[in-house]
Symmetry: C2
Subunit: 317 residues, 2 copies
């Protein structure tokens, strides 16, 4: 088997000529990898390079890895050529199951034995995508968030025929490649981040439909309310820290009844003892013994920086 | 009527000794106002000053208004004294309707004629709060987001007996005082931001209840996925810009069917022509003729700054 260890990956193949394919290429180039881009027609190269050049402004500002260069990108319109020397394959084909299934049928033979194939799919299940693949054990979902060259999240999950070592390898590789990998517990539609975003989005549409808020109202509320805090503390930790010494336990015991209030059109789950304990234990584990006052101070420092960064970006610098 | 124009407000009364009351006091002091704090017992002053000192670190980093000083704060445990010279009253009493109703009954007589009384309530309706108030026409909700000294959002809405000029005054005053005011269209439970947050929160609890994700998974997904982008573009504008020249119209026409997918437990509204048009028109108005590429570049600059700010805060600087 030719699967390298995650730290020995040198060449990544990014499959697809759209903004996700080009965005992934930009990310991997910035982290110092060689990248082969597979595009349907070499005519697409100019547009692809435009995405890359735009991304590079931000990637330089964040800091490039030693040796990182846009010159380490090559293009091909031949799938076999694209993947034959790849140590890792990031697939960014259009979001159509029939198309992806046909692609994985080919990739399963063309990609060197054991080398990981990760799909950028935002909605399809790997169990379905890998259905016709002759070597499905090394296929995983590796779902980025747009823009993929900036937002760190990659959601990872295998299909029914993926082996656990492939999922672990994908986690380790993405972490080494500067991403924030999240290995999901179950194959669920929308994964984790999109489900959370979609809940928020549907409530926003309800408010607009009912004349309760305009799209601009929704955005003003998000940008100036929860967002600057969510960038440093997810919603669980934000509540845990806001409740002081009592943490998430205080939050659930005090505000649990609010789950029955019509504060959104989304029905809440029953707050069972088991759910309560999972939330409390999870927050305590994540806090890892840190005092809530230290975490609140960290939160405040970050929000100050976030507010300054947003202001500076709006002013054009 | 003794209501000053918003730019002539000199003294603010902040009613309540908890973190919201002290947080509001910190904000108004930092913007250069005199502040009178009403607390139940003068024994609470030391704890109050502790909140203030913590807040001041962040407020100094963001930049104080000329003349701003913590010395311009005075304490009293007498309600009449607290409000008698106030040009604006921010009420931050505990979240109990009977208690607030009794308080507004008193405030309606004690607060100088015409001076605004704004409630920090996060869940109650002003129509209910003002029920026993003898001068309800100048009472509004002015709901901050925690921490109130940092997050800019203030959601504003009157009750049935509030006059429109009072709502407009509150909007203008909060804007002058450095906040991001959002005047709501209707009195709905949870207002706008909390409804959006609550939709996300309930979906998160469902995932934890079903063993699909841990609290830490939820937070990793939020912090590294949508959050750094939401700080510069709300969800409407994020989709509008991500869809390029076609904007929100492309988003709804292409992804509209996804509203039927089980991507969250929240049921979506019917995507009627009217809802589609409201979303598209709202985004076009908010974009105000700016090209999507300029907005994408602004987004990228902001995300770079946000990621750097979060990293620096975690490193302790």
């Amino acid at each position: 088997m030719t699967r390298p260890s995650p730290e020995n990956v040198k060449r990544v193949a990014s499959l697809g000529g759209g903004p996700i394919g080009a965005g992934w290429a930009a990310h991997f180039l910035a982290r110092g990898y060689d990248v082969t881009a597979y595009i349907h027609s070499l005519d697409e190269e100019a547009k692809y390079r435009q995405v890359l050049d735009t991304a590079w402004i931000s990637l330089e500002a964040l800091g490039l890895a030693p040796g990182a260069s846009r010159d380490r990108l090559s293009f091909t319109d031949d799938l076999a050529t694209a993947v034959k020397n790849a140590d890792f394959v990031q697939e960014c084909a259009p979001e159509r199951l029939d198309l992806k299934q046909a692609l994985y049928k080919k990739l399963g033979e063309l990609v060197p034995d054991g080398v990981l194939i990760a799909s950028s799919t935002s909605g399809l299940m790997m169990t379905d995508i890998q259905a016709m693949c002759p070597s499905p054990e090394r296929t995983v979902v590796g779902h980025p968030f747009n823009p993929p060259y900036l937002l760190p999240l990659v959601e990872i999950i295998g299909g029914k025929r993926t082996t656990p070592d492939a999922v672990q390898w994908a986690h380790d590789f993405y972490a080494l490649a500067g991403k924030a990998p999240l290995v999901m517990k179950k194959e669920i539609p929308g994964f984790v981040a999109t489900r959370l975003q979609e809940a928020l989005w549907r409530e926003a549409l309800h408010m607009v439909a009912n004349g309760e808020a305009t799209p601009q109202d929704i955005d003003i509320a998000l940008m100036n309310g929860p967002a600057p805090r969510l960038a440093i503390q997810g919603q669980c930790m934000a509540f845990h820290v806001a409740c002081g010494a009592g943490g998430m336990a205080t939050n659930l015991d005090q505000f649990g009844p609010a789950l029955k209030l019509p504060w959104t059109r989304l029905e809440a789950p029953e707050l069972t003892q088991e759910l309560r304990d999972r939330m409390v234990d999870g927050c305590n584990e994540a806090a890892a013994g840190r005092h809530f006052e230290d975490m609140a101070a960290e939160r405040d420092r970050a929000i100050v920086g976030v507010l300054k960064a947003v202001k500076a970006a709006r002013a054009g610098s």
